[in-house]
Symmetry: C2
Subunit: 127 residues, 2 copies
Amino acid sequence: MRYSKQREEILKIIRNTNVHPTADWVYEQVRKTIPNISLGTVYRNLNQLVAAELILSIKDNTVVRYDGNVNPHNHFKCLRCGNVYDVEIPENDFIPQINRIGAHRVTNVRLELEGICADCVQKEKLN
Amino acid sequence: MRYSKQREEILKIIRNTNVHPTADWVYEQVRKTIPNISLGTVYRNLNQLVAAELILSIKDNTVVRYDGNVNPHNHFKCLRCGNVYDVEIPENDFIPQINRIGAHRVTNVRLELEGICADCVQKEKLN
DNA sequence: AATATTAATAGTAATCATTATTGTTATTGT
DNA sequence: ACAATAACAATAATGATTACTATTAATATT
Ligand SMILES: [Mn+2]
Ligand SMILES: [Mn+2]
Ligand SMILES: [Zn+2]
Ligand SMILES: [Zn+2]
């Protein structure tokens, strides 16, 4: 993987936010410094960065979001505002060693949480 | 929701399989008895059946799968062959009462498992 | 039973996120 | 410098799903 300023900028943007951005959001941001960048370039580099394990991709409904935090962690999605939050769950407390389910060999356990976020709960109380 | 033989046939097909079919798979099946059915009709009815809670929808990568088993249960996806299996996990053993994460109100907990299924593990051993 | 109402249909066009293609540019090794 | 080619910008293609439109058929009303 040879250097490009486009990829450097994309990585910087993802590492400096905690909004779990979509490709489109990244595109809007990077255009501020590289106005003529192509959306295809953003997608290509996001895929390369995921392959290189420099970022994570998380699926959210019909879109893919990206995450600069490569430490394994879970996510909570607010059904009201759509924001995605990191969740620090001591995984061992909730998910004991699942190596096998029946005769299936389990390699990947993902916990997906949904609900109403703190901000939206707060706003709800003001009505 | 008024009666239609198309919807009846679609529901029957989904209830009589355990493959967690996609809209396209259902379309191929229902065409055997209703050859001129439209793919749009399949999608429309699948959505109606989900809304009426007669079937479940589960997201799998870029496609939506449907499930005639409306009892809450988890799924295991084989990364080798792509099959989706039901998983009987006594949920309370793995997911204690999560009502709140920090100040977020959790309403929905989903456990997603991936790995190599029993069949594929077996085939692997024959090499 | 005939007629009216309108939900549901078949056929097809549109949408939207993502990927592929193509000709050009820029990075890297010699 | 120069050659090799990865990465680029621009744009076309893809694929799952949804929307549109004229027609058909299920149910209600006479
Ligand atoms: Mn995260
Ligand atoms: Mn199932
Ligand atoms: Zn919220
Ligand atoms: Zn398998």
